[in-house]
Amino acid sequence: MITELLQYKFIVNSLLAGILASISCGIIGTYIVTRRMVFLSGGITHASFGGIGIGYFFGFNPVISAAIFGILSALGIEYVSKRSNIREDSAIGILWSFGMAIGIMFVFLTPGYAPNLMSYLFGSILTVSALDIWLMLALSVLLILVFSLFYRLILFIAYDQEFARTHQIDVSFFNYLLISLVALTIVLNIKVVGIILVISLLTIPQSIANLFTKNFKNIMLVSVVIALIGAFLGLLISYKINIPSGASIIFSLVMIFFIAKMFLLIKREIVLKSGLGKKF
């Protein structure tokens, strides 16, 4: 069956997209989860819908306009939350809904039916284009480069920004750089799992990995592997029963989470029963 499936170009594309999504989300998701930026990331995700609407209206690739819109919103939130008296989560809430509003306005102003709109909301890995794949590949390479070159500094700043600042480290530069990478990762993965579900790829694999390891680097690596397993399982389910791939990928990931949690609970019980627990 596999060789037969691989003859279809769209299947090969979706597999490639799954691999690349796992790499980018595994890396950036670890940064998001450990810095407790999940809500901020949700805000950027939804704000980028504004970019998709603008893309539809002016007739260019919605991924490109969403990327620009997403990065600008991310930089905006970072700037506003540092410089003004507005609470960070309130600023996120405003941008979250404003982006969605802009998107809806432009989609409805666009004459005729908006094709593929559902695929942006719920994800459709089967419709990823060659351009999407190239962009995702470039992103994965960029993330691997940035995180291996600046690993120590990123960890240092993520752990204690204020202390890093007392060490003459340009903390705001790194904050702006990383928030832009978060936005790019979100937007380029929208095709795979959709706006509504993209946050899951950035949090579930990391939460599973965090059950087994408490080391930043290991969480990144394990997350990539878990995201890969989830993506393949999800694709298989999506193909078999014909449902959007985003939903089936997330369903698979949550199942893996429960199995992992169960595994750890059973392991603890066995340790307790075998008497090894008495040592403690």
Binding site: Y159, E162, A164, T166, K214
Partner: protein, 251 residues
């Protein structure tokens, strides 16, 4: 004694609020200054000015190099409640980050840096915790990790923001003993809300309540306290080192 930092009539605060008014302070080698004062009086703001985390609205902050020591580094121990205890990082990596400066970008830590970190962990007495994740530590152990990170770079000035919160008495005693030893190599500035116990260790006391009153000893008289309306406990030294605590009710 040569000067490390000098603040000259500094006005500082956040956004549009001025918290510190006309504050002048000299920190020299060998100093051990206890900074006390009421909540919201500007203790942390003062530290932030010295650390360069905030720029004063008015006045100057000047750093000095002397021939004896060109090392102008400042070691900093923040309040522990500012730290995310669930962050996935090992004790070793936290301490090593104390050696990382803006210019050190690529690669990994050198052998001598790792050795320095191990030595520092031994010095504060927690070398056996090296491989643990910070989430597994107790409050006192966490403070020692942060102290190790602050001193691993052999700074000329060590700044501590309420190191005695969330820890038990035994730890507090150990901490002051370590600080007393460190003071032989570096100046120490420590913020505390609990003056009673620090009094016998610090050499001088600065009381911060919007403005700053500096005492060239660690003895404050009741009259002095009354004069600047700073609700703190009273500390004195008698024949045998002892601490007298008295309640104050300044309006």
């Amino acid at each position: 004694m040569s000067k490390i930092v000098e603040l000259k009539s500094v006005f500082a605060g956040y956004n549009d609020e001025v918290i510190l008014k006309d504050v002048s302070l000299e920190i020299c080698d060998d100093d051990f200054i206890g900074i006390i004062g009421p909540n919201g009086g500007g203790k942390t703001t003062l530290l932030n000015v010295v650390l360069g985390l905030i720029k004063p609205f008015k006045g100057s902050v000047e750093f000095f190099n002397n021939e004896k020591s060109l090392n102008n580094k400042i070691g900093y121990l923040p309040q522990t409640n500012k730290i995310d205890r669930k962050f996935p990082i090992t004790v070793k990596d936290v301490v090593l980050s104390g050696l990382l400066y803006g210019n050190a970008l690529f690669g990994s830590y050198s052998k001598s840096q790792k050795q320095k970190a191990t030595e520092t962990l031994k010095r504060v007495g927690i070398c056996d915790l090296k491989e643990m994740t910070i989430g597994e530590l107790s409050g006192g152990q966490m403070q020692k990790v942060l102290l190790a990170r602050a001193i691993v770079s052999s700074p000329r000035l060590l700044i501590l923001d309420e190191p005695n919160t969330f820890v038990d008495n035994q730890f507090e005693g150990e901490l002051y003993e370590i600080l007393r030893q460190l003071n032989e190599e570096m100046a120490v500035v420590m913020v505390s809300h609990d003056v009673g116990t620090i009094a016998s260790y610090v050499k001088t006391i600065a009381c911060v309540n919007r403005n700053l009153h500096y005492h060239k000893s660690n003895i404050i008289s009741e009259e002095q306290l009354a004069s600047y309306n700073c609700p703190i406990k009273l500390i004195t030294h008698g024949e045998v080192p002892h601490t007298v605590l008295k309640k104050h009710n300044h309006s």
